[in-house]
Subunit: 436 residues, 2 copies
């Protein structure tokens, strides 16, 4: 097996030892980015919380004497030099932001695992064939913070030249009202220089991208595996800022036929999309459909008013491009038909899409070999959530992902990853880098 | 005709003249209770805006040398003495509060009309057979301000002995978080004394209650009548504080069968109630159904989270007690069934009811006679909205209502009552008091 050359008992023991570093980093992240109101963590994309997480990791990387740098978009690169510094390097890591009131592990686990692996290489004196760079990306959870027209995963897309200058100004943070450009500038980065220079990461510089991440669904937990090897990543079709506009009027005095009730129309629309979802699943298709936000206007709504407006968002995901397109068309068709029938106007607003991504077959095979070699019980698993890994795959970089079992899902304060499972996944990650 | 004795040309001219008083009062109300953020008026029940409206009317009543008093709940009584002061008196008026961002006429028009009529009686030297008291009631719109367990129309119910002490503490204002008891006390009234004394208004003291109010639906406008004589008032079944509780989780990574999506379940519930509404109308029944508020939790919800909670309210109204009961049961049945099917829990919370009320047949006939005598085009009309008049009817006081045509509905900032229509309705009201 290719990895046997540099996989030693010393390295194995060093990985155990460095779990203490991982523990410290997770604790520090939780303490310093905890939600002041008490629930979960707040690492806002291009905001204070994300910045603190980057500082914590930078400090740890310096203590390990890694090469530390950032790009114009603020992504953080922490490199352990290999024997051949000119050879295409391994890249690993994940994002350091979170959703509002998110959990401590979503994103951060990938960066902490990378740092723990590099610390173990240092401790064991393992010299790898090529550089390994741990990346802390920016603004992967941008969709939970920025509204307007943007295509998500800002940090990795900026590094790979997939981010467009228009997004800089059209993406606006919901809480501050400021554009992404302003937020990047305020965080000390240089969006101007970003678009005046070639992409920071040319695909040819990368041997591959391997991202460790907690599973965000219940599958590993329910199936009883500590680790999953990801097969592919769902693409998305999203409307962040949809609305249904009717007319406010008295709830008691206006007969049904004169009403323009935004809430009943929106319920009708959601019901119709839910039925379409059921039909796709019934024919064996892959799809999830979510309306994560739905709200009447608190400054106007009342018990005794027919609601004249309701705002909502739409999140559709599938591994199948055709299903995504079909659903995107259905959103418009239902909006039109229900709007007409219910005398209201749907404004779906900007719709952003991310294409599905397939993980590298050779990497997947190697990772499964690693699990057998290390005695880790693992299963193949699709990724329902989007990840930076998808962006690397889109530009032709071979990409893989390792999922860690995690109870209670992610994007919520109750994430529960066991450190024992994390240790196994980190071991697999380190093993992978010793193979070539 | 009974009214001919005291209906004189002088009184008719005086009513025209006193429209200037009405104009001044409406203008003052609008100026002093205008919404600082710009939309409509804010006369919050047992709050600052309602208090200002009461002060404006008190000042006007004193200028007309009426007998002015309040009861322990803060209702305002402004009386023009009649020939026989011991005889049961006419009571008229309406409420002086508004919904949040409400219109200037809903409620206030009834008090202003009463004051204009009394001013005209004074000016014309008309001596009436019995006292006429204009009442400015408190907290008729309480449902838009106070959550918790209460049965609405607090002012009139308190005056008539229909208000219960439990409501004082269980009703809590949504913006301040304070109980109704605290709000009454802060406004200078005496809830303790209220429950230590007999009701302020014994039904035997009242010859009848006649309330002028803008129409809150589009019927008079569409049918082309300036004035409507109300046949009956819809009862209500209301849940102010309903919720659907599921579980927050990742919107991409969790398959349909593991989800507990509160929004899709709530949409299903609203859709089921909407279909039930259609069925009642199809069989000729009377019903309106409204979900005026519907909102996920802004501090937790996100584009990429399955929503774990959505809160909403339910407002059902009918002239038919049986339909109301049927719908109240259906709410519970659908909540149960959809909760089970969708793996969520509906918490419908306290349900308050107001019974339908029938207007006095003799009063209705007399008012229609008045319309013919005065040359006013009028039609019979049901009231979809609840009114203080219903409470008087419930305790056996003969009650009637005069509706004034009003474009754009009420409970919104765009109410549009023409002063010409208001003048006709006020004339009808004054004429009615001269009949007996």
């Amino acid at each position: 097996m290719a990895g046997q050359r540099s996989w030693t008992d010393e390295l194995s023991r060093a990985l155990d030892t460095e779990m203490a570093l991982a523990d410290r980093l997770f604790r520090k992240l939780k303490e310093r980015t905890g939600n002041p109101s008490g629930k979960g963590v707040v690492r806002d994309s291009y905001g204070k919380g994300e910045q603190i997480a980057h500082e914590i990791c930078t400090e740890a990387a310096r203590a390990l004497d890694l090469d530390v740098s950032t790009d114009f978009a603020g992504n953080l690169y922490m490199t352990l030099p290999g024997e051949d510094r000119a050879a295409p390097a391994w890249f690993t890591g994940s994002h350091l932001d979170s959703v509002p009131s998110g959990g401590n592990y979503d994103g951060a686990a990938g960066v902490v695992a990378g740092l723990a692996a590099l610390a173990a290489f240092r401790r064991a004196g393992t010299k790898l064939a090529r550089d390994v760079t741990v990346v802390g990306t920016r603004a992967e959870e941008v969709g939970s913070w920025f509204t307007g027209r943007h295509s998500g995963h800002v940090g990795s897309r900026a590094a790979l030249g997939l981010f467009s200058e228009e997004e800089l100004d059209s993406a606006v943070r919901q809480d501050t009202g400021l554009s992404m450009r302003r937020h990047m500038e305020q965080s000390g980065f240089d969006p101007k220089a970003l678009f005046a220079s070639p992409p920071h990461l040319a695909p040819s510089r990368l041997k591959g991208w391997v991202e460790l991440h907690i599973e965000q669904g219940p599958v590993l937990e329910r199936e009883g595996y500590p680790v999953g090897v990801v097969t592919g990543i769902r693409g998305t079709v999203r409307a962040r800022d949809a609305a249904c506009i009717g007319a406010y009027t008295h709830s008691g005095a206006v007969p049904r036929e004169y009403r323009q009730d935004a809430v009943i129309a929106a319920a009708d629309f959601i019901g119709a999309m839910d039925q379409a979802w059921e039909r796709v699943l019934a024919r064996g298709g892959d799809l999830v459909f979510t309306v994560g936000k739905l709200y009447t206007d608190a400054s106007v709504h009342a018990l005794s008013k027919v609601p004249g407006e309701v705002r909502f968002c739409i999140d559709l995901r599938s591994q199948d491009e055709t299903v995504l397109q079909e659903m995107a068309e259905l959103v418009q068709r239902h909006a039109q038909a229900i709007g007409k029938k219910r005398r209201v106007r749907f404004e779906i607003g900007p719709v952003s899409t991310q294409h599905p991504a397939v993980m590298d077959a050779t990497f997947r095979r190697t990772l499964m070999e690693g699990c057998r070699a290390l005695g880790i019980a693992a299963m193949d698993i699709p990724s329902g959530a989007g990840h930076d890994a998808a962006e690397f795959a889109h530009v032709g970089v071979p990409a893989a992902m390792i999922f860690v079992r995690n109870a209670n899902g992610s994007h919520n304060p109750d994430e529960a990853m066991e450190m024992d499972d994390f240790a196994l996944a980190t071991r697999l990650l380190a093993w992978f880098f010793t193979t070539r």
